[in-house]
Subunit: 307 residues, 2 copies
């Protein structure tokens, strides 16, 4: 079975949307990535850090999904990373209300020995030096390294971010971040510029407007599934990344054609994530529902014009 | 050969985008619809009105595309409808600078006798009473009636608009207009409400974010082709409608499955329209280019997941 190594936050989120608000609930990029990737046939591990305040039940949830948590450091005297956000009415934008780094401030990632030969590495959104450190610890060259990041690191740690971007095969960022990183408004031009920074594959996430996969002059697009209601977008991008990297790890095929399927699986899983608050929907989700929705994605996008 | 009857404006446009500006050039919904539909094997006719100031060369262009212009009334002493618009930097929004109705103010459409049995009727954006009048003049029931409209008529002639919407099979509007017409933010809910107004098929155009086709619980999506540069969006929606209605008229198949192909053809033709100012690109376009780009649409959207 192939191995997927995940690095990212495991955290508390407090979320407010037009539909309601939560207390501190389970969140974090690595949590969403891990839950999403757990729908594939693979061995996964999370590298992260939490405080002594982090409930055992959350860790047990990850273990129950067959995720190796030996790389999640527990700092007994510390507090878990906490993020709080308020979504605006259209759910396309949000304000960050609170960011408490806590134990994340001094985090030194340690890759479990058993995952230093992972075939796929998914670098979730975190300080680029942490992402680099994980790559430094690998003992064999992964078949695929995927990096997710955000505008925050472009503002605060651009040289370190550019260093780690050089080392990855796939970068996933949203449209505004792609424009910021490249200085280009056109996403086609932005992807071309980002290719020159290193990644052979550039995934641009457009939220409710779907996702684009660029590979040189080749391009593939997956729509977001049109939903009656988006309840909470938190974690959708991470769930997308988990579906993409999990599918690639399972199939052990890093061709562009196969990545198209990965983009569809990522979009599929993300379409569930937004249906409830936080990780709630991902926890209740089963394989039948995933397959049923894949049929919807086919009906949504496939056509039959002979040429 | 099947007949496509088109009603809409034939006009002068003056356009300013971040890339440049034009003097008065050929424009109008029916012009774009007609040019786009001319890529299909059908007989088409335009019902419209122009003034004595309208150059013969523009009429000759339409005739050269095999479009019957006997339904374009020429009011010798009148002036042609003129619209001028300024696009903002992202090309997703625009300000209307000038709207001179001129001969359009008193327009009474007259359907040529030979097109009163047209299989497909494409009601381009115009006063809903004009659209209704064209339907009143039909002597046989068309296989498909498609209506395009805009927010202006929702603001100024809502009862008349609702009357004509009741009579059509397909409505094409953009996302903001769908929200305005339905009072629903979610496009899935908006389409469901618009179904109850009459149309069995609802097409929601999202500009650079593609187009959705709803039919009850069924939904299909066509992306816009990712382009290095969008030069001028004027006429893209009409070109889309011309490609859709032209394809349906040619194929004489009004099934949902076939409408998917129509949506792809519409998106394909619209992707050319935006590459140059006004009708310039549609006039130079040839069939090989259309087919080549259809291959790009396939590569962009088709994937192979077995279920």
């Amino acid at each position: 079975m192939n191995k997927l190594l995940i690095v990212g936050t495991v955290a508390f989120d407090a979320i407010e949307t037009p539909f309601g608000k939560t207390d501190k609930i389970l969140g974090g990029a690595a949590t969403y990535i891990g839950l999403s990737a757990s729908f594939f046939n693979l061995q996964s591990a999370i590298v992260s850090v939490v405080g002594g305040d982090f409930p055992q039940e959350h860790l047990d949830l990850l273990t129950s999904r067959n995720i190796d948590i030996s790389g999640i450091e527990i700092v007994k005297e510390g507090k878990t990373f906490f993020w709080s956000g308020l979504y605006h009415n259209d759910l396309n934008s949000r304000d960050t209300l609170v960011t408490e780094l806590n134990v994340l401030a001094d985090f030194q990632p340690k890759v479990p020995q058993n995952f230093k030969d992972a075939e796929v590495v998914m670098l979730g959104n975190l300080h680029p030096l942490v992402q680099s450190s994980v790559l430094d610890q690998m003992e064999t060259t992964p078949k695929l390294v995927v990096l997710d990041t955000m505008n925050f690191w472009m503002d605060c740690a651009l040289p370190e971010l550019l260093d780690v971007i050089k080392r990855v095969d796939v970068i996933t960022i949203n449209d505004e971040e792609a424009r910021q990183l490249s200085g280009e408004y056109s996403l086609v031009k932005a992807a071309a510029k980002i290719h020159t920074l290193g990644p052979k594959y550039v995934v641009i996430k457009k939220g409710e407007h779907g996702a684009l996969l660029f590979h040189g002059a080749e391009v593939f697009f997956a729509p977001a599934l049109p939903l009656e209601e988006v309840f909470d977008p938190t974690g959708a991008g991470d769930t997308f990344a988990g579906g993409f990297s999990g599918y690639i790890a399972q199939s052990e095929n890093v061709s562009f054609e196969n990545m198209k399927n990965g983009i569809i699986y990522g979009s599929n899983l993300a379409s569930f994530c937004v249906e409830k608050f936080g990780t709630e929907r991902m926890v209740s989700l089963n394989e039948n529902e995933v397959n049923q929705r894949l049929r919807q994605f086919k009906a949504l996008t496939q056509f039959n014009i002979e040429l």
